[in-house]
């Protein structure tokens, strides 16, 4: 099979057939953005369904099973309902910021998707500072949460937003440093090259001990950064009702909701790319069929997404001070030591390569 998955090139070539080169470039960008938007809006909806189904399996229930076969259309129906709902707001809320906040959140999570190499060629935007770009973009989302909580004119929302600010800023460090540990091993920030390096063995095997430590720190910090249980301080429903999005309704609420699930996908996708060989198949079993890379990438990502859902439906929630203690007193020092360990291992060439 020979499917061209280099979408940027394919679409640009197609468009430049009947327009100038500049216009074709812009046209290609817009087209790709729309394709991504469509794919991941739907993917986000199905992640919601997956979460509900997995929750049901954990909780001795059936989960959604009425709308469509096995409830497959349930989240579609939910989305339709949310689109048709009235957008409400509070009196004396800062209308401009209140309306702006959801876009920060959803745009930052959708932008981060552009750099992932789904296969060797299926990548919208291959920049040489990929990891750096991801960390930078994913921290914009917290601005939206802070704005939303502040502008809602609601104290529960404000407490949630402040918690979110504290939490995201703290755990950003651990996410960044654990990825930096792996960058020491790869020697590049570019995501496509990070995957190339792993043709000699996935990084979690190449980097053995420090890589496993980095992966564990990354998963803990990543879960915290997406504000999911056991770190869901932001919307701790038994404490704050709904947290920062208490006052949002309809589509604006849906943006926050969708962003949470896309963020979860992103965290898992980064882990897949950096630790588990991205689109590479185990032992190169499907190397001759390049498009199967998408399957491997999505498969590995969903294993990690499942892990995060497993956390959510098993663990109780931490308290805000315990959350910060965990980060500043345990994860961060461990992370710094781990970087040194990784540096020593790379320096002495103790990596495992096949």
């Amino acid at each position: 099979m020979n499917i061209s998955l280099n979408i940027t090139k394919t679409i640009t070539e197609l468009l430049s057939g009947f327009m100038s080169e500049g216009a074709a470039n812009i046209g290609a960008m817009v087209t790709i953005a729309l394709i991504y938007l469509a794919i991941f809006a739907v993917a986000g909806l199905y992640l919601v369904l997956l979460e509900r189904k997995i929750a049901a399996w954990f909780q001795l229930r059936l989960g959604p099973n009425r709308v469509g076969p096995w409830g497959l259309l349930q989240t579609m129906a939910d989305a339709l309902k949310l689109v048709s709902k009235e957008l409400t707001g509070t009196v004396k809320a800062d209308k401009f910021l209140f309306n702006l906040a959801p876009y920060f959140v959803i745009v930052s999570s959708l932008m981060a998707l552009s750099v992932f190499p789904f296969t060797q060629e299926f990548q919208a935007f291959d920049i040489n500072i990929g990891i750096f770009f991801l960390i930078a973009i994913s921290s914009i989302g917290v601005i939206g949460i802070l704005l939303g909580g502040w502008a809602s004119n609601n104290k529960f929302a404000l407490i949630g937003a402040m918690r979110s600010g504290v939490q995201t800023i703290s755990y950003e460090l651990s996410v960044g440093l654990s990825l930096l540990t792996m960058v020491l091993l790869t020697g590049t920030l570019q995501l496509s090259e990070i995957v190339e390096v792993q043709k000699n063995g996935w990084l979690i095997i190449q980097g053995h001990i420090p890589a496993v430590i980095a992966f564990m720190i990354y998963m803990i910090a990543g879960t915290a950064e997406t504000n999911r249980a056991p770190f869901d301080m932001v919307e701790a429903e038994s404490e704050l009702g709904a947290g920062f999005h208490t006052e949002y309704s309809g589509m604006k609420f849906a943006y926050f909701f969708l962003a949470e699930f896309i963020n979860m996908f992103i965290i898992a996708a980064i882990a897949t790319t950096v630790f588990f060989g991205g689109w590479l198949s185990p032992f190169g079993i499907t190397e001759s069929i390049p498009w199967l890379g998408v399957f491997w990438f999505i498969g590995k990502t969903f294993m990690l997404v499942f892990l995060m859902m497993w956390f959510r439906w098993t663990f109780p929630r931490l308290r805000i001070d315990q959350l910060l203690t965990l980060e500043w007193k345990y994860l961060l020092p461990l992370n710094l030591l781990n970087i040194i360990l990784m540096a020593v291992i790379v320096w002495l060439n103790l990596t495992i390569q096949f």
Binding site: F58, E237, P316, R319
Partner: protein, 373 residues
């Protein structure tokens, strides 16, 4: 709580927040007026009255048979025990000789009620600290008890099985079999509760050393039930003033001396084991006999004051009847366990975080209609 900043020039402003009457953690319509400094609780003021139904006043209007139908709406998770309390008061006042069969059945159903109440509490307790799955495990086991009740009493929650003078009708033929099945089932499922929640390191960190209540404070606030026993205050009415068939069985009064949220949690878990042991001792030896003694159609209590206390799932429920010799009580007062347990919320929550308040409140096991009659 141990991380307060001392000698700091940084000052923050206290603010006021309304928790409830519609709030997930208040399990009903309790309104808490919180004064908070950042995340730290400075003052908790419970505000009641959102579900006040004047049950005590209605009791003055009703005959003694009718009162029983109101009391199961107070603490709806211990409906059988509430009704038993009223019936015992009336029976003691009339000096009726209650058949042994009635006493044993009342005790078995009372203990089943206690297990049902504690499983529900365990489920929502987990939810309050963020573990949503516990809810469904708790409800799975509670459902079996509700089925037993449905067969025998006709209702699953607010059952009116007691009447002054005995029981409304005999137990269902399946009762003994299904109760035994439940005990066998629950013995394998209760350890699951520990594996899922009790041993979890996050849960223990949330619970241990939080919501401290000393024995002295427990006594002076009038705490009873698992809240008092978690602080080492021996207050089990079943042990100290046995009623119905509780003097015929052997069981341990669960006492913990730590006085924190985790101690109260453990007391309830161990109480479920004790309740199972009580049921096991009685279920095979239900005596034959009548299930009621004949009373007058219109019960008139002799002139005087009558008091009876029982141990509900939440603590000590007292029923005080002041009778003038007519067919209605002149005054009827309930001493409900939830009311005094709620009164110590401010004491145990101040200085903690919002999350601690929710966790400590969950270990008090409040049922709002019980507090706000």
């Amino acid at each position: 709580m141990d991380t307060t900043i001392k000698n700091s020039n940084l000052k923050s402003e206290e603010y006021f927040i309304n928790m409830g009457p519609q709030h997930p953690a208040t399990h009903g319509v309790l309104r808490l007026l919180l004064t908070i400094d950042g995340e730290i609780i400075k003052k908790v003021e419970p505000d009641l009255g959102y579900i006040h139904r004047s049950i005590e006043k209605m009791c003055e209007r009703d005959s003694y048979q009718q009162i029983v139908h109101l009391t199961d709406r107070m603490d709806y998770l211990s409906s059988h025990i509430n009704n038993e309390a009223v019936c015992l008061t009336v029976e003691n006042a009339l000096q009726l000789e209650i058949p042994d069969r009635v006493k044993v059945i009342r005790t078995i159903i009372g203990e089943l009620t206690r297990i049902a109440s504690h499983t529900l509490w365990w489920g929502v307790m987990g939810m309050d600290v963020g573990a949503l799955t516990t809810y469904f495990y708790g409800f799975r086991d509670r459902e079996m008890i509700n089925d037993i009740f449905e067969e025998t009493c006709g209702a699953r929650l607010t059952m009116n099985y007691n009447i002054p003078g005995g029981l409304m009708f005999d137990i269902h033929p399946n009762f003994v079999k299904r109760t035994k099945e439940f005990i066998a089932h629950f013995k394998t499922k209760l350890p699951e509760y520990d594996t899922l929640l009790t041993g979890n390191v996050i849960f223990q960190k949330r619970m241990k050393g939080v919501g401290m209540l000393t024995k002295e404070d427990a006594i002076s606030f009038g705490a009873s039930g698992p809240v008092g026993r978690g602080s080492g205050y021996s207050c089990d009415v079943r042990k100290h003033h046995p009623y119905s068939a509780l003097d015929k069985v052997t069981f341990n009064e669960v006492l913990k001396t730590e006085g924190d949220s985790f101690a109260r949690y453990q007391v309830r878990i161990e109480e479920m084991w004790e309740s199972m042991s009580i049921i096991e001792q009685l279920i095979d030896n239900i005596p034959e006999g009548d299930v009621q003694v004949a009373t007058n159609a219109v019960i008139k209590l002799p002139k005087g004051e009558f008091y009876q206390k029982v141990e509900t799932a939440r603590g000590e429920l007292g029923v005080y009847i002041n009778s003038t010799g007519t067919k209605n009580p002149y005054r009827l007062k309930f001493r409900s366990p939830g009311f005094s347990n709620l009164s110590l919320l401010n004491h145990i929550a101040v200085g903690g975080k919002i999350g601690d308040l929710v966790a400590s409140m969950a270990t008090l096991d409040l049922v709002i209609p019980d507090i706000d009659r």
